[in-house]
Symmetry: C2
Subunit: 176 residues, 2 copies
């Protein structure tokens, strides 16, 4: 499975492509950051993010896009920008018919480090190890995007089983 992970943000949108299946060594196919100037108009920044994400989709043709699920608990200004950048990433994927999966930051941390409360350095270290890189990807947004993709590859089998069970239950529960 080939997954594009997106750590959404207006100023820095981390992107990383990982290929593999659960239980086997994973391969990094690409990592980077889509940047937009903080002093540009919001609309233009969203267009720049769209163009950046489209390039990554064109180049890597992922089968799934994993985006960080945004919560509103944190800094108000940052969160709104994060929500808007994530909307653009989801829109780009859904427009192409590519499934979008959302994972919370703690799900991602737990998947790659074993602890939902791991810090950035720990996540970076595990991403480096799991993808057999020479050094942690920088900035942290890039490493987080790879962690999202890894998290999705590892969680996908369980999620698929769950979705199938829910679908089966729903189809049985409905009158024909």
């Amino acid at each position: 499975m080939r997954v594009l992970g997106v750590d959404p943000g207006l100023t820095r949108c981390g992107v990383g492509v990982v290929e593999g299946v659960a239980g086997r060594p994973l391969t990094m196919l690409g990592v980077g950051v889509v940047r937009t100037p903080p002093d540009a108009e919001l609309g233009r920044r969203l267009v720049a993010i769209e163009q950046g994400i489209e390039q990554w989709l064109d180049e890597h043709r992922p089968e799934c896009v994993a985006v960080e699920r945004v919560f509103s608990q944190h800094n108000v200004r940052t969160v709104m920008g994060t929500a808007q950048a994530s909307a653009v990433a989801m829109l780009c994927a859904a427009r192409r018919g590519i499934p979008v999966a959302l994972h919370t930051p703690s799900e991602v941390k737990a998947a790659v480090t074993g602890s939902g409360r791991a810090d950035k350095a720990q996540v970076g270290a595990m991403v480096t190890r799991l993808l057999r890189l020479d050094a942690p990807p920088k900035p942290a947004d890039a490493a987080d995007a790879l962690a999202l993709a890894i998290c999705h590859i590892w969680r996908a089998p369980a999620q698929n089983r769950l979705q199938q069970a829910v679908a089966l239950h729903a189809s049985k529960g409905r009158t024909p």
Copy 2:
């Protein structure tokens, strides 16, 4: 000036087109709601909103799109969806090179009713009067979208003067 007002939301995205200039009677050219099913996947909902907004832009060719500025003070779940829907509206406009203006709910209320704390009914009543309609547009999201467009037409002259002053100041302050 022809303005498309957008009251962003995932389930109901209000849209309204108003034409006119400050100080003259205004004309409503269209009003409606772009709806997406709450049980659909988020990515698909964003695609549906994009298609809806594109249709309104195609049909009415506004010179400006006025979108409600989203704050994160309110209900967490609603706000994230509102931010995401607003991102799609801004993206659609900016992609076409149409200027995007953001107005806060209290700016809009103050513009059409004289009070930043007016309720929905008051806003609906004033929109009905200002656009010489037979009845308040429903749902409230549609009326709010028209109020946004009216607010923008009335505030635009002042905003333009401010922007020109800022630009002049910036150009004088910079070394050549």
